[in-house]
């Protein structure tokens, strides 16, 4: 973590208002190459709003976003996707009536080889099904059939579908908004494992979570959001969980932390 | 500006009424009057016609020409208009009772039916009639008058002119509502032919319905053996008579009704003199082939008198 690795994604002074509510109030953000950056904060601190700006789901009222140093202006999640950014949204972006395999490949369907696929653009359902099964097995989720509609899954199972999708297709950055919130112990650990694996492939991961043990287990750096701003970025190896929580809740100021705690 | 005259038709889209409107506008231009037009939304929309009456009075109309959708339900509104000094003239079909309006310039739909009934009987020449009727829509007085008149003219068991029900003697093997629409009439005729392939006489409520029925008969290869009669006498219909699609039709005169109405309205505005009474604008039987004992005019005459694009 020394020698300042390259900055992959950066945001400066983001402001986002919803009517009278200011969700982001000049938030900064920095994601470095190959790291797992945890974003933590109280409910309503603006974490989801922040990553929605980063992934093109909403457009900030003010502020700048840079990808690999170049300013970007995502107009929609499509733009972000084209730049290789994959996101798991907190409110589970799945289409309930469609099957698991369809959801996994939604917007990125595989076509049959040869004439059928090239000119008639026929889907390769079999291949998608097979890949779905292997992806989901990686997460060790016991789902019987990939042709089951997502609406028949339990809350945690649905979450797994969204996570598997992001992990499978990201090229540049993976953003996950509370991916383990609904997961059981086993599945939660699988997702943490998956996050590590994605990082090890070289992709930086943004992980939003309220689960401090999880955060301290995987994060390389921790971004603490507070009242729509970035309160501090800390190094989990040099700060205690209780100090982190204290900064998060405002009980302690970031300036009171020892030099080493910052990252 | 000249006097304002309101014209209220049953619908906007029936060519008969469109023609009526054109006739009124042409006459108004000649006499320096203004015609404002309105209509119900569908055939039978009485409430829409009442609203139109009110709005026209508000717009300053002193004469209202109306083709009542509902001969009886419209009367209270007419009474109210008359109470405000407005002259109301019924066009095309009378109110019930006819004295509820100041004057009626109308055509006798029952008689129109009788004429084609008489002609059909002659045309069938003693064959036993097997009849299909393509009627208007449930409960429509014009539909009932033409239908019952046709049966009476043929000499079959029927109902009188005031009756709103459709008579159904044994000779009528299939009755269907065409809504005066070619496509619906075609479907209905196809189904009737399925039911009874021996149909040899088809009565249709108007000429589009006749064209639809003809299409069905032609598809079944029966167009030569079947007599099709109709009512209206629009130019397209007369052309169909000439082409052998329709055997005979009863011609009516919407332009005449309208221009008479406008003239009466201008006169009322000038002199305060109202017209009154019932004026029958007449009906003429048009057929390509004259039948002995039936008084009919040929296609050429029909074309000279017809309304619409010649």
């Amino acid at each position: 973590m020394s020698a300042q690795p390259q900055i992959v994604m950066q945001a400066k002074g983001l402001i986002k208002r919803y009517g009278q509510v200011t969700a982001l109030d000049g938030a900064d953000f920095e994601l470095r190459a190959g790291e797992i950056l945890a974003v933590i904060g109280d409910n309503g601190a603006g974490k989801s709003s922040l990553i929605k700006c980063l992934s093109g789901a909403t457009i900030p009222d003010q502020g700048e976003i840079f990808l690999d140093g170049k300013p970007i202006h995502f107009k929609s999640p499509i733009d972000a996707r084209h730049s290789g950014i994959e996101t798991v949204y907190q409110d589970l972006a799945v289409a309930p009536a469609m099957t698991i395999s369809e959801n996994l490949f939604l917007g990125r369907e595989l076509r049959r080889p040869g004439f059928l696929g090239k000119f008639l653009r026929v889907l390769d359902k079999k291949k998608m099904l097979e890949e779905s099964i292997s992806r989901m097995q990686e997460l060790k989720v016991g789902i019987r059939s990939m042709t089951q509609a997502v609406e028949t899954l339990s809350g945690g199972q649905r979450q797994c579908v969204a996570v598997a999708r992001a992990a499978a297709f990201a090229q540049h950055v993976v953003i996950m908004d509370e991916p383990t919130a609904a997961l059981g112990v086993k599945e939660g650990n699988m997702v943490l494992e998956l996050i590590r694996r994605v990082r090890d492939k070289g992709l930086p991961v943004v992980l939003i979570s309220h689960n401090m043990p999880h955060v301290f287990e995987v994060a390389d750096r921790i971004h603490i959001a507070r009242l729509g701003k970035r309160a501090a970025v800390v190094n989990p190896k040099h700060i205690s969980m209780s100090d982190t929580v204290a900064v998060m809740t405002g009980a302690k100021s970031a300036d009171d932390l020892p030099e080493a705690a910052h990252a | 500006a000249g006097p304002v005259i309101g014209l209220i038709t049953k619908t906007d889209s029936n060519p008969f009424f469109v023609k009526m409107k054109e006739g009124a506008e042409a006459e108004a231009r000649k006499l320096g009057a203004t015609v404002i037009s309105g209509s119900g939304k569908t055939d039978g929309d009485n409430a829409g016609q009442i609203t139109a009456i009110e709005n026209m009075i508000a717009a300053g109309a002193k004469t209202i020409l109306i083709t009542p959708s509902d001969a009886r339900a419209i009367i209270p509104a007419i009474k109210k208009a008359q109470g405000q000094g407005v002259m109301v003239i019924a066009l095309d079909s009378p109110t019930d009772p006819a004295t509820a309006v100041d004057a009626v310039f109308a055509t006798d739909n029952y008689k129109a039916g009788q004429l084609i009934g008489q002609y059909a009987k002659a045309a069938l020449g003693g064959k036993n009639p097997v009849i299909a009727t393509m009627d208007l829509l449930p409960g429509h007085p014009v539909g009932a008058q033409r239908h019952n008149g046709f049966l009476r003219g043929y000499g079959l068991q029927s109902l009188d002119a005031k009756n709103n029900d459709l008579a159904k003697p044994a000779e009528v093997v299939c009755m269907a509502d065409s809504f005066g629409d070619a496509a619906k009439s075609q479907t209905a005729m196809e189904n009737c032919l399925q039911k009874n392939p021996g149909i040899n006489l088809v009565y249709t409520i108007n000429e589009p319905a006749a064209a639809g029925a003809y299409k069905a008969l032609k598809a079944a290869g029966k167009e030569k053996d079947v007599v099709i009669v109709s009512v209206d006498g629009g130019c397209a219909g007369i052309r169909d008579v000439g082409a052998g699609v329709i055997t005979a039709t009863s011609q009516q005169y919407p332009l005449k009704m309208a221009s008479m109405g406008v003239a009466a309205g201008v006169e009322y505005a000038k002199s305060g003199k109202k017209v009154s009474g019932y004026t029958d604008t007449g009906v003429t039987l048009i057929a390509a082939k004259a039948m002995p004992g039936v008084d009919s005019k040929d296609v050429k005459t029909g074309t000279d008198l017809c309304w619409g694009k010649k």
């Binding site: - | 569908t42 009485n46 009110e54 717009a59 339900a73 009367i75 509104a77 409960g139």
Partner: protein, 319 residues
């Protein structure tokens, strides 16, 4: 689709209201006959029937349903009350009660099919639309009923204030709007209608008997259609078997112009009144301008879209 997310309730009716004012302003510049108390009294009378139907329609649309049968049911009610009075010589109040009972029964039928068999309201009311129409035609033998007692058309009479006049029926309609508005706003049962339309599952889980709420709404709508029958009889002075054929689309137009979401759970019933008035003002104003009726249809089509678009824009501006 869910573009209503951040709608502020008090502002929701503002859009349609502005559209109404703009329309009035426009017509006032076009015709000197438009801006008179008497003309407005006329417009109110013209919208009173569809206005009352639209209250029922609003309730149903708030529950994320839709009612296509409303106009036909209204026509049946009118036929029943007039025929009962004319043929059996029932006293007017009793005949009216019978007519309203029939429309309420139709509401009950709609409600039972929607809640018990869980059929989509669109298809249920498409069915009952045909059934009500057929019964109306059969029972009336397609004949208009005219010889009805005066007391039955009482609501069509007007009360004069100086040179203004207001029909009793209009007063009744305005009263019904106010009562419904207060009920929806200020009572638990009213709020439950919003909750059912907004999130039926969540509402069921909080222990509200959603099926009973739905059933109640359909029955109440039937009752309102019965009142509309009476108003229609009073206005036209006759029981008309061909009434009500376009009232369903008219009522839905009024509801939507009034800012109520077709997805349920969002809307204000007073907006529906404004929506009904917009339609009435256009019809009246265009006639006063001497626009022929086929152009009126064209203009109405364009304006329906414009009005809703303005409303939508004004809401976006507010965010």
């Amino acid at each position: 689709m869910n573009t209503h997310s951040f709608k502020l309730p008090p502002l929701a009716t503002l859009g349609p209201f502005i559209a109404l004012l703009l329309a009035c302003f426009f017509f006032a510049t076009q015709s000197d006959r438009f801006l008179s108390a008497q003309n407005f009294s006329l417009i109110l009378q013209q919208v009173m029937v569809v206005g009352v139907i639209a209250i029922g329609q609003t309730l149903i649309i708030l529950t994320a349903g839709i009612d296509l049968s409303c106009g036909m049911v209204m026509a049946l009610g009118g036929i029943v009350m007039t025929k009962f009075a004319a043929d059996f010589g029932l006293p007017a109040p009793l005949a009216v009660a019978c007519g309203i009972a029939v429309t309420t029964l139709f509401g009950l039928l709609n409600g039972l099919l929607v809640t018990r068999i869980k059929l989509p309201p669109f298809i249920v009311t498409l069915g009952t639309l045909n059934i009500a129409f057929a019964i109306t035609q059969l029972y009336s033998q397609s004949r208009t009923v005219t010889d009805i007692p005066d007391s039955m058309t009482f609501l069509g009479n007007t009360l004069r204030f100086g040179n203004t006049s207001i029909a009793y029926g209009v007063a009744l309609m305005l009263g019904l709007y106010l009562v419904t508005w207060a009920w929806l706003r200020e009572t638990a049962s009213g709020r439950h209608i919003y909750a059912v339309g907004n999130s039926p599952e969540a509402t069921r889980l909080t222990g509200i008997p959603t099926d009973r709420v739905l059933l109640g709404v359909y029955v109440l709508a039937g009752l309102l259609y019965g009142i509309a029958s009476l108003l229609s009889v009073a206005r036209t002075g006759a029981g008309d078997p061909n009434a009500g054929q376009t009232e369903n689309l008219d009522a839905i137009t009024a509801v939507v112009l009034g800012g109520t979401s077709l997805f349920g759970g969002r809307g204000v019933v007073l907006g529906t009144l404004v929506g009904a008035l917009i339609v009435g003002v256009f019809r009246n104003g265009l006639t006063l301008m001497g626009v022929s009726s086929i152009y009126q249809i064209l203009v109405t089509g364009i304006l329906v879209i414009l009005a809703v678009a303005t409303d939508q824009m004004s809401r976006k501006g507010v965010r």
